[in-house]
């Protein structure tokens, strides 16, 4: 057994012993989920309908309710949600195990994520696009009868156009005539480019020019000359102009142009540094929430929200 395998096996063994010990020998165990039964009544319909909904609750509330009345049914242990916590925790560890080295557990987790995501997108696409935006527009009565009881619109035959284009797009999968899919694709590219062009032109190109037209000497009626606002505006204008000069390649970057371009590089570097700093903060936040999940929801080693006994 080589050194890396020995470390992996040792870590797994220590982890397994710790978890088994915690599950079997700690007073309340770990990684359990509880639900509260809530009765929902519908007053809008002709019949008086009611059903029970299960909402997440805390371990503290569950034990307090059991202590008060051991036969109560309002608060219950939820096996499905408990399994959810355990699967989420184990998959988090599987994914993190890649940091040590590539391994079969990581591959399993990766494949499951890809498969589940694809299936999820397919289901979401059907229920949020095909049903309400296509079938619901073409035949609202039929959709209302089985899928969207609140649908209250008239049929719009114009939606036959996207239906036909959708079929044309799927023609790509047919053995012959795949060129037919290029027509709706061209339409999609054209409309997307048009919509986005206007958005960028208006909000970014023109908007940013307008945002850069600012007073270099700021004087306010309340405080008079505002030094810091003036300095801030001057830096913005110099930063924009020098960065633009850096990307202007029609003139050789020599003399004044070269020096201005160099200043532009400094501004760009500071921007990249700020972006990197923010990215680091974002990534650490993501790691922190996973570790918090493992310590809090799964292992019950911490309880920052004070929800457990």
């Amino acid at each position: 057994m080589n050194r890396e395998t020995l470390i992996s096996v040792s870590l797994l063994a220590v982890g397994a012993i710790f978890i088994i010990g915690r599950v079997l020998f700690s007073e309340y165990g770990m990684g359990k989920a509880y639900v509260q039964a809530v009765e929902v009544r519908s007053s809008g319909s002709e019949e008086d309908l009611s059903w029970t909904k299960y909402e997440s609750t805390t371990q503290r509330k569950y034990h307090e309710a059991v202590k008060k009345d051991p036969d109560q049914n309002d608060y219950q242990f939820s096996l499905s949600r408990t399994l959810g916590i355990w699967v989420a925790a184990l998959f988090t560890l599987f994914i993190l195990s890649f940091l040590y080295k590539d391994n079969p557990l990581y591959k399993i987790a990766e494949s499951v994520v890809v498969g589940v995501s694809a299936a999820y997108w397919m289901v979401v696409g059907f229920w949020t696009t095909i049903v309400p935006n296509l079938l619901g527009k073409l035949s609202p009565g039929w959709i209302k009868s089985w899928a969207m009881p609140g649908l209250d619109t008239e049929a719009e035959l114009l939606y036959l156009v996207p239906l036909v284009m959708g079929v044309m797009l799927l023609w790509r999968l047919a053995p012959q005539g795949t060129w037919i899919s290029r027509w709706p694709l061209a339409f999609i590219i054209g409309t997307t480019a048009g919509i986005r062009l206007i958005g960028f032109l208006h909000a970014d190109f023109l908007g940013q020019i307008r945002n850069t037209i600012m007073s270099l000497i700021v004087i306010t009626p309340e405080t008079g000359f505002d030094l810091w606002e003036s300095v801030k505006n001057i830096i913005i204008v110099i930063g924009v102009l020098s960065s633009i000069v850096y990307f202007f390649f029609s003139i050789e970057h020599k003399g004044y142009v070269g020096k201005t371009a160099k200043l532009g590089i400094w501004f760009l570097m500071i921007t990249f540094g700020a972006a990197f700093g923010y990215t680091v903060m974002g990534r650490i936040a993501l790691l922190a929430i996973r570790i918090e999940f493992l310590l809090n929801d799964w292992l019950w080693l911490i309880d920052p929200s004070n929800i457990r006994i």
Binding site: G150, I195, N211, M281, G282, A288, L295
Partner: protein, 291 residues
Amino acid sequence: MYEFLKDLDKRWIFLLMFLCVTIPIYVIAKTGKSFPEVPTVLSEAVFQAVEDLGQGDPVLLSFDFDPASEGELGPMATAFVRHCAEKKVKMYFMALWPVGPQMIDDAIAKVIHSDFPSLVYGEDYVNLGFKPGNEGVIKVIVTDMRELYTTDDIGTSINDIPMMKNIHSVQDFDLVINVSAGYAGTKEWVQYGSTPYPDKIKIVAGCTGVQAPLLYPYIPNQLPGLLGAIKGAAEYEKLVIDKYGGNDPDPKYLEAKRRMGPQLVAHLLIILLIILANYIYFVEKKSGVSV
């Protein structure tokens, strides 16, 4: 030291990072203490935008994120809902991301169901759910809400929801609050919302750290306030708690503040690693080793 650092296995760095994040989380959770936060101008602008609203004013909350960024954006979403509930404004939730409705449900359960049970669905808040189409959705609803939203998230007709009576487009909202993890999100709301209708649509946002630098150019004309990453969330949490939290605030409203502890220690490690990496670079450059 140079020899040791030169060939250091990167897995030691991963282990160090793990400890730098785990230990502060554990210590802060056990002691209940966290680092102080000083709100910046941008966080104060977001807070003030909500604070300026009156009772019953309509506010659109677009939660455009998913569980992958919940760690960063969840605390912001919670704080926004709490602030809106305290201000007694009418909350209209929507999402441009398919998992957004679950994020909305979480925030509603966490804040409204547990701490504001008197708020009535359909009268004080409504979940309009997810609509596919990214910026296309924004482009349509800025002029006609009913073109896309015929029902709410659970299938109730829009016409049967009392609080939808006077809402015809996004221009009817007094404020749009966007919590965004990427495309489609704050950038698209600025491009197709506040930029074409600067006098009618006002947007404030909370976003992930990766997005924040891309949104700074829109401040303040197109985007009056922005909460950048977990730091922005912690600052906003502090402002909301200072005003509405009382002496013993519920720990669920202090999530972002708690998560700033691991941020501090992990950032110190990153700074140390950058210094050490530069030290190796300059030593190798001086000794003529190809770098």
